[in-house]
Amino acid sequence: MRRAEIITALILGLFSLYFMWKSGEPPSWNPDVGRFNNIGFDDSGTPGGGFWPFWLGMIMFGCCLWIGVNWFLKKSPASKSTEPFLDEFGKKNLFAVSFGLLSFLILIHVIGFYGAILVFLIYYIRFVGRHSWSATLGISLAIPILGFFFFDVAMRIVLPKGYSEPLFIPLYDLFL
């Protein structure tokens, strides 16, 4: 946990610096303006577009330094902890969920939302949760069907169908 605390502070500190750098970016249509020209007031007393985010980034960076000092002095609970950041269950579980969600997201682009929901629910309920096939199939089929009637038919929010689009055309003819 102690190592995770300082690594996170480091990553967030770097993000804060990147944020400050991006805040000072000149407008793309005017390359003559120098970087960081927009973080203060212009001649007419108007604060530039980078004013607000730059100084926020500065405070964020200051906070990361403060967190680092607290870590060094072992003042925060995480910096004192000798517990691992993730135990064996945590690692296994994080992998199972990450794999499932990543596959879900990719499948949306291929077979659309409803197909991806079906596959994801079968994976999670049957293989992660180890429930019976009847429960798995019952829930995995019911949710996309209810989803279609709620979103596509009732709310007129058409979810992406990917390559499964032709399968839905008869349903559109019937319900829309």
Partner: protein, 503 residues
């Protein structure tokens, strides 16, 4: 006396069978739309707006269509709390603050208490707002108009100051979270100069900004679920509630523990609701923060305090009525939903503005009467549906959690029709999980994202107009708010110094 008589006439019209039927249908539809992650009152009202033309053809006036939409609005405001408490995913941005304490209560097996508290607090908040609306509409509209940019920024500063108390003991992490939320809200186009800014790694998806619901659903739908799975080792059956007359009566009696939050939320929510560009989401978040500050047991917040459920629910319902006030009296909508309602009023042939009350009393008073009726209908429907909401919680966690993941993804897509936001939401969820594991308070970040788009233009326009920071200390309304905010920000430091001196 004239007002009371007009109000009773209005309630009488709102109770006519057609109008009452429309109010009941509107509330039920709104309840389900509000409970669905990603969809809020604005979606419900916008989607159902075309149906009101059919209603207008049938009834022949603008009153019934408006009663229907107002009922959808009320139903959706009540509904947002359901998924916040039962599933841990905010149904709408207005219900994010309800998740902070509603979810821990559900995990402790007190979901019925949380749902009942949310329903009653919503009812009280909306009733207080209705009374204030009825009695003081023109006066309050003029007070709200006196709030210029310095006052609005001072109010935001006060809200950020209360956020500092929302985190744990780790002050730098809390401040980091606030600034992180504010920084993320600045991504996209600079609304003053029109320049694109902070387009990370030149990915064009960032040009429309990082939307609030993407972050809220990511943090609470994905991040919190990952955290709960990790903490509970997948063994959590969310709650085992016995639903019977005794348990429901006991839950009802516990409402007295939520009186302070309900009172603060009701009055604060109404006032925030009146302010242009504020609305129910900032109201609920500020209601939560101020109730925590005023509480004798602030350490209980985030762990299942009833005041923490009541305050945001009372505030968001109160604010939703408050937001109608500038819409009806000045023709200025106070929230996105009221903007759609305003469009509806114009389409139905009305002219919202200062003359509406005097020229269209046959429309105004039945509408105000319908606020009271819809509010009561929403309470009854909500209480009647509690057993169904609790049924969701009895599912094994390994079934409930994938359903929540699915709802989070579908809800995010439904809100913005954009796959970039869905990917970003999942990424934010994992980030939220790691931050939660290391005790970075996520609530202040979520709150800051809401207020960022209001605070930044208010500050910059103030500086453009007055060219000095001292303006915040010289204007009669802005000065006391700014000073109170600074004292609150310095409070942890002062406490630390006092401790040192005492030692």
């Amino acid at each position: 006396m004239e007002i009371v008589s007009a109000l009773f006439d209005g309630i009488y019209v709102a109770l006519e069978p057609v109008n009452l039927g429309l109010a009941i249908i509107g509330v039920v539809v709104g309840l389900f739309v509000g409970a669905m992650p990603g969809l809020g009152s604005v979606n419900g009202v916008a989607i159902l707006l075309p149906f009101t033309f059919v209603i207008q053809n049938f009834t022949g006036g603008a009153t019934s269509p408006m009663i229907f939409l107002a009922a959808v609005y009320y139903g959706a405001m009540y509904g947002g709390a359901i998924s916040s408490i039962a599933l841990g995913i905010p149904g709408a941005s207005t219900a994010v603050a309800t998740t902070f304490d509603g979810r821990p209560l559900a995990l402790k097996g007190k979901a019925h208490v949380a749902l009942m508290t949310a329903a009653i607090a919503s009812f009280v908040g909306a009733t207080v707002a209705n009374i204030l609306f009825t009695g003081f509409a023109p006066v309050l509209a003029s007070v709200a108009l006196n709030f210029g940019n310095p006052e609005i920024f001072a109010l935001m500063l006060l809200a950020f100051a209360t956020f500092a108390g929302l985190g744990g003991d780790d002050f730098p992490k809390t401040i980091f979270s606030i600034c992180f939320g504010l920084a993320l809200s600045a991504v996209g186009f600079d609304i003053i100069s029109g320049e694109p800014r902070l387009i990370f790694f030149d990915i064009q998806g960032f040009s429309h900004g990082i939307r609030f619901l993407v972050l809220a659903i990511g943090i609470y739908g994905i991040g919190e679920m990952l955290w709960t799975i990790n903490a509970s080792k997948n063994k959590t059956t969310m709650t085992s509630v016995e639903i019977n007359f005794q348990s429901m009566t006991a839950a009802l009696l516990r409402f007295k523990e939520a009186l302070k939050g309900t009172t603060i939320g009701s009055f604060l929510g109404f006032f925030i609701g009146i302010l242009p560009a504020a609305g129910a989401t900032p109201a609920s978040l500020m209601g939560y923060g101020i109730t925590k500050m005023a509480s004798r047991n602030p350490e209980q917040f985030g762990k299942g305090a009833l005041d923490g459920v009541a305050a945001p629910e009372a505030a968001n319902n109160s604010a939703s009525t408050g937001a109608m006030l500038p819409m009806m009296t000045l023709g200025i909508p106070g929230s996105p939903t009221t903007a759609v309602l305003l469009a509806g009023m114009v389409i139905w042939g009305l002219d919202p503005g200062p003359l509406l009350f005097s020229e269209q009393p046959d429309f105004v008073w039945p509408l105000i009467g319908s606020f009271y009726v819809s509010n009561l209908v929403a309470l009854i429907v909500n209480l009647a549906f509690i057993p169904i909401f609790l049924w969701m919680l009895r599912m094994p966690f390994t079934i409930l959690s994938p359903i929540i993941f699915v709802l989070s993804l579908v809800g995010t897509y439904a809100a913005y029709m954009n796959m970039f936001d869905v990917w970003l939401m999942v990424l934010v969820g994992f980030g939220g999980f790691f931050m939660r594991m290391l005790d970075y308070p996520v609530a202040p970040a979520v709150l800051a994202i809401v207020l960022g788009p209001i605070a930044e233009p208010a500050l910059r326009q103030t500086l453009m107009q007055y060219e000095t920071f001292t303006i915040f200390f010289t204007r009669p309304i802005a000065a006391p708010i700014t000073i109170a905010a600074i004292i609150l920000i310095l409070l942890p430091g002062l406490k630390f110094l006092l401790k040192k001196i005492n030692k």
